[in-house]
Every structure is written in structure tokens, then in C-alpha cells.
Symmetry: C2
Subunit: 72 residues, 2 copies
């Protein structure tokens, strides 16, 4: 998989995981301990999350980093 | 898994993957298109890689992001 559009693939993954749970960006941001605008920026692939942020996101979904990275 | 020491867990994972292949930091840095000092900093958990960097590292090892994140 190309490294250039990994941000877009991850944004899509984040949106899908949120939609599966019926969570708004606000709800997911609260669960992950992040700001809503940051979640929105990552979903639009305009911000690149670091490893600790990815770990927070995985924890917010109650899953491992491995699970979070599926299809990315 | 805690999000606080995810950097340390990833540094260990990177070192182990490199050792399995008998690669120096220099060799892996070349394969991943990164600088050796950056690889060293990530292994020591003093730098936090972003998602595109993680994708470059996965590609450098010839594996997916899911495989790279195992045990992290």
C-alpha cells in the first residue's frame, strides 16, 4: 500500500468505525480524550496523527492498534 | 494497553524486527527512506512517528501496518 494516501485510508477507517457505532465526532473525541476538531481534521486527512494519538484512538474504540490499522 | 508507554513498546518492536533481519539502523533507514538518527530516536522512544512515517517503516520491512503494530 502506498505511503502517500495512508492518511486518506485512515480517515476512511476512522469514519467507518465511528459510523458502525453511531457515534458523532464529538462522542468519539470524548471517548478518546481528543478534541472534536482534531478528529475531523484526521478524518479529512489534513492532520497526521502520531503513535500516541493512534493509541488513544484505538483505546477510544476499545480495540488494539492492530485492529485499528486493519484496511489502512 | 496504556497509551503512555506505546512509544517504548513500538521502539522495542522496531529493534526486534531489525534484529530478526540482521539490519543496522542505517540499513533499515535506507530501506524506509528515513534518516538513521530518526530511526534511533524512535527506537529510544524520544520521537513520536506519525502515520505516514509508520507506513514508510512498514514498507521498509515489507509488511503491512497491521503486522508492524503487532505486540504494540
Amino acid at each position: 500500500m502506498g505511503t502517500i494516501n495512508v492518511g486518506k485510508r485512515f480517515g476512511k477507517r476512522l469514519k467507518a468505525l465511528r459510523a458502525e457505532r453511531g457515534w458523532s465526532q464529538e462522542e468519539f473525541a470524548d471517548r478518546a480524550g481528543l478534541h472534536r476538531t482534531y478528529v475531523s481534521a484526521v478524518e479529512r486527512a489534513v492532520r497526521n496523527p502520531t503513535l500516541p494519538i493512534l493509541a488513544k484512538m484505538a483505546k477510544g474504540f476499545g480495540m488494539s492498534l492492530v485492529e485499528l490499522m486493519e484496511s489502512v
